[in-house]
Symmetry: C2
Subunit: 235 residues, 2 copies
DNA sequence: CCTCTGTAGATTGTCGACAATCGTCCATAT
DNA sequence: ATATGGACGATTGTCGACAATCTACAGAGG
């Protein structure tokens, strides 16, 4: 039994996202952005040679990126037939949201007992920057969504639970593209901002019970709005 | 918006494990078995060339296998320094078990409302085969563990929730190797068998509330026994 | 007119090789 | 004796090429 403690996953929760980025990491992030942003629509085939050429690299890192997307639930592999952008049906979306409601509520509650001044400052800054995006009459939905993801990721990280953080983030990403389409079509965004401020206040106060309730409600609202939107646009 | 419904993940829950296996799939399964079985100890470096030679294939599929192991939480990558077998500390193990307790309880409850005769027969058969493993004075822990995994996987699948099933199985696998070490050193195995029969009975009766309670208790017992074992053998 | 079969094209899965980077060992200076 | 610096070996990350397999289309047969 070799000395193993050096490999223990203890380098801090910041490294849920890998520190040093390889070309494969960049390809993965790029494709994830494109899928999440809806530029690559569900069912669209993801051809390795095509993507490699488009991103200016070889097929090996593209394969790795696709592999990860599959495990994250963003792509589906049909052996010898290639990857396609995953398509979640309503049942699966509800499935994911049920888990999110519990996991995010739990993470928030834990965070309330561990937040530091620095954490609060970082979250406050993210809220302010999101406000910026929605200030004028034109809403910068792309930037807002990126900041929103960062806000919730930060909140998860404050919980101090590495594994819980991983799960919650992964589930978020797998439905984010559907949520974003919905946000763009509704006033939900400003409502979300309001809820973020409530969550932040509860975190600042260290009120675990309240932040858990608020986080769950935040998730539930997103889910309800999304399901309603999907039902309306069913085609 | 192209016709996407063909790609929808609807081919049935059996395909959580991929149907047609590539060399990379086999490498992945082999390495996972070795890690879960404890043959590869936490902290041990996983050198690509070495593994490739040992399994008689090239580095490409080995890389893919390692990639998956990382996302499953079984391996950790330090960029430019290679993969090592992941080492979970007690906090992370408790973290994972807290999620398992909730997810597995929920999946069981849902399964109680959807089980078919065929499902029950399959589960009953698995229980019988596990009994076989523990009949004599020598316990076939490896076979038992494989059947145990199948039993719980089957139970998750009956829930009909594809995503929930994925998460629960992934979390199981990431702590399985620690649990197995514990099983080998205790009488916990027979106790687990007894609990399986209780869970099965509740499923057969369609009693959602009872099976949820039993499943959670099953998880909690495993956790408590494991934590105690880790505390005793701390080195 | 429909169905089945065989060929052609395209795409994946796998391989071996090369360059970049990291850890290690040794020489040297303080 | 300890610390600093450079070269060597080992390992990863990336690339282009090849073989296996699948899809699509065309042609023959019923």
């Amino acid at each position: 039994m070799a000395a193993a403690s050096t490999a223990t996953a203890r380098e801090g929760l910041r490294e849920v996202e890998r520190p040093i980025k390889s070309v494969a990491d960049l390809a993965h992030e790029q494709l994830r952005r494109e899928i999440v942003a809806g530029e690559l629509v569900p069912g669209e085939p993801l051809r390795q040679a095509h993507i490699a050429e488009r991103l200016g690299l070889s097929r090996a890192p593209v394969r790795e990126a696709l592999q990860r997307l599959e495990i994250e639930g963003l792509a589906v592999l049909r052996p010898r037939r290639g990857y396609v952008v995953a398509n979640l049906d309503v049942v699966e979306i509800e499935d994911i949201f049920e888990m999110r409601i519990w996991l995010e509520g739990r993470a928030s509650a834990l965070a309330a007992g561990r937040r530091t001044i620095a954490d609060l400052r970082a979250l406050e800054d993210l809220i302010a920057r999101m406000d910026e995006c929605a200030r004028g009459d034109t809403v910068d939905i792309v930037t807002w969504a990126a900041l929103n993801r960062e806000f919730h990721m930060k909140l998860f990280q404050v919980s101090g639970r590495r594994q819980l953080c991983r799960m919650a983030l992964s589930l978020r990403d797998s439905v984010e593209r559907y949520v974003r389409v919905d946000y763009a079509m509704s006033e939900m965004l400003r409502h979300a901002q309001h809820e973020h401020k409530g969550i932040f206040a509860a975190l600042k106060a260290g009120d675990a019970e309240r932040i858990e309730t608020l986080s769950r409600a935040h998730c539930e609202h997103t889910r309800d709005r999304l399901i309603a939107s999907l039902a309306a646009h069913q085609d």
